[in-house]
């Protein structure tokens, strides 16, 4: 059993009377990539700002590396690399000056490593940050988070504004730090991203943790949309009683349906027919998300 790097107990934060997050319980384990998934305004950034002691809990506790987020804030933040959700910058500084400034708070910059990160992310450090596009600022922000090789990376919407090639490089960087045994906590509202790089995902909605799942289980749970092409016309009645099947529609030789859980009953049933083609529409995590959401509403 690996130990918790982030651990919250009944963590609650009220803004005036609005709950920002409510009774949050989560454990992020050492060495995992934890995705924090939720729509905008769900409380992701609030949670992260509680981790970093920018804001204080109304009740409940946050521990990082087993230490209290406020009392041991300095020792905790020594081990953290942080990328804010809306990266703010000093527009008059160049990328290099900005990184040098940030590194000065941690005993100086490792320019060799920074250069390496910059060339991987294709970032031009000599430009003034005020003239950079959003994506290019984001790259500087990522370099800033990775440059001191922290034990825990806390990244708020890290791929926002990055072009696809750079995104791939970022995913590689995340896998590399994971291989080194470091922990990554990243928030996102982009499902395929979380699917791709995270080991576990916590789903937050309206400040409440709706579920914490393994990515694998999450994929298992979701609906699959199938389109099956037969050699001859089929009847709707032949399929509607297959376990786990729903939304059955038949258009001549084509059967469309959704399957949850095991595919086995459906495969067994269609084996009685002459099957030409099976098309599976890769559904997004979004749909799993929606099942969680609608489940919560009921």
């Amino acid at each position: 059993m690996s130990k918790s790097v982030i651990s919250t107990r009944n963590l609650t934060k009220f803004y005036r009377k609005e709950p920002g997050v409510l009774d949050l319980n989560m454990d992020v384990l050492e060495g995992e990539v934890f995705g924090y998934l939720g729509p905008n305004g769900a409380g992701k950034t609030t949670t992260i700002r509680l981790f970093l002691d920018f804001i204080r809990p109304s009740s409940g506790t946050v521990e990082l590396f087993g230490m209290d987020s406020h009392a041991d804030g300095l020792r905790i933040r020594k081990k953290i690399g942080y990328l804010p959700g809306e990266l703010s910058i000093y527009s008059h500084l160049t990328g290099r000056e900005f990184l040098g400034y940030m590194a000065s708070f941690r005993g100086g910059a490792d320019w060799e490593f920074i250069g390496e990160l910059a060339s991987r992310l294709k970032s031009d450090l000599s430009k003034r940050m005020g003239s950079m596009s959003h994506g290019n600022k984001q790259k500087i922000g990522l370099i800033q988070a990775f440059m001191h090789k922290p034990e825990l990376l806390i990244l708020d919407e890290p791929t926002m504004g990055l072009d696809p090639l750079v995104q791939q490089e970022f995913y590689k960087m995340v896998r590399e730090v994971k291989k080194e045994g470091k922990t990554v906590f990243l928030s996102s509202h982009i499902m395929p991203e979380v699917e791709r790089i995270c080991d576990r995902v916590g789903i937050i909605r309206k400040g409440k943790m709706v579920a914490v799942e393994n990515i694998f289980d999450l994929k298992e749970m979701r609906l699959r949309h199938l389109e099956i092409h037969f050699a001859e016309d089929v009847a709707w009645e032949s399929f509607e009683d297959v376990p786990g099947i729903s939304d059955v529609q038949v258009h001549g030789r084509i059967l469309e349906c959704s399957v949850s859980g095991s595919m086995d009953p459906l495969i067994k049933r269609i084996s009685n027919y002459d099957v030409l083609n099976v098309v599976s529409h890769e559904p997004s995590l979004e749909e799993v998300f929606l099942t969680y959401y609608s489940g919560d509403v009921q």
Binding site: L52, M102, S104
Partner: protein, 264 residues
């Protein structure tokens, strides 16, 4: 690079313009001194003016034509302290609040850096900026006095310039403390400005308005110029009191800053 050095670097052009402004103001005023000192009748104005009005705009002076009286009434009583009030009100108010509003405070504090250190580093840079602006005041007056043969010693000018810098630091500390405690730039400017103007009026009118007299020692301006440092030199106690209260402002500001939530 640390926060103080970066702030100084960020403010270098601003400081340059303020210094140019102060030098031009001082030279303009000093250049007219010969034409005033050669007309002793000017001093009669002092007798004819209503004392409240005189006190409000030129201080409790006895001579308009002496170098000290001229510089006090034209520069050190009203104009220069208000220049320093404005300079510090802007610098102090934005010190924490602007970083917070832009979101850069989050970035700085994601490092292993305590909040109080940001406040103190910002304040240290404000002290340096005041000292440089004070130097601009002193040098322009020394040079100006030499140009027009004004009979005043550089030491007297040094004393009053130091007093001016300390007054500036006082308002800088107040604005910085408010900025840290509230995170609101405009609020800090408003309160610091209001307190500055009130303190000025209190000190200026106390000698002629009996009701105000007992409260004069509440005014920062009293410690700045009440002892008339251009004539009598610096009174260390006055300076210490201003600096001690500045420290108290910062202490309270930091205390609140350490406890509050940062805004986004």
């Amino acid at each position: 690079m640390n926060i103080s050095l970066k702030t100084l670097r960020d403010k270098r052009y601003s400081l340059l313009w303020w210094s140019i402004g102060v030098v031009l103001l001082n030279l303009t005023v000093v250049i007219f001194y010969p034409s005033v000192s050669s007309v002793p009748e000017y001093n009669q104005i002092l007798q004819e003016m209503p004392p409240a009005l005189l006190n409000l705009f030129a201080g409790n002076i006895t001579s308009f034509t002496s170098p000290e009286g001229y510089l006090n009434s034209q520069l050190f009583f009203l104009l220069l302290p208000f220049v320093f009030l404005g300079f510090n009100l802007l610098l102090g108010s934005e010190s924490i609040a602007m970083e917070e509003r832009r979101g850069t405070l989050d970035l700085i504090l994601s490092n292993p850096l305590p909040r109080w250190r940001i406040v103190l580093e910002k304040f240290a840079s404000i002290m340096v900026l005041n000292a440089v602006l004070g130097l601009a005041v002193l040098l322009s007056l020394v040079v100006g006095a030499w140009m027009v043969d004004m009979n005043i010693s550089a030491w007297n000018l040094l004393d009053v310039s130091i007093s001016l810098v300390v007054l500036g630091i006082f308002f800088g500390a107040l604005a910085t403390a408010l900025s840290a405690a509230t995170g609101k730039n405009e609020l800090s400017m408003g309160i610091t400005g209001a307190i500055g103007v009130a303190a000025y009026i209190l000190n200026a009118l106390a000698p002629v308005v009996d009701e105000l007299e007992p409260y004069r020692e509440l005014s920062a301006f009293y410690y700045y110029i009440g002892n008339n440092p251009i004539v009598n030199g610096l009174k260390p106690w006055d300076m210490l009191i201003l600096l001690a209260v500045s420290g108290l402002f910062l202490f309270v500001g930091i205390l609140v800053f350490e406890r509050r939530d940062l805004g986004v």
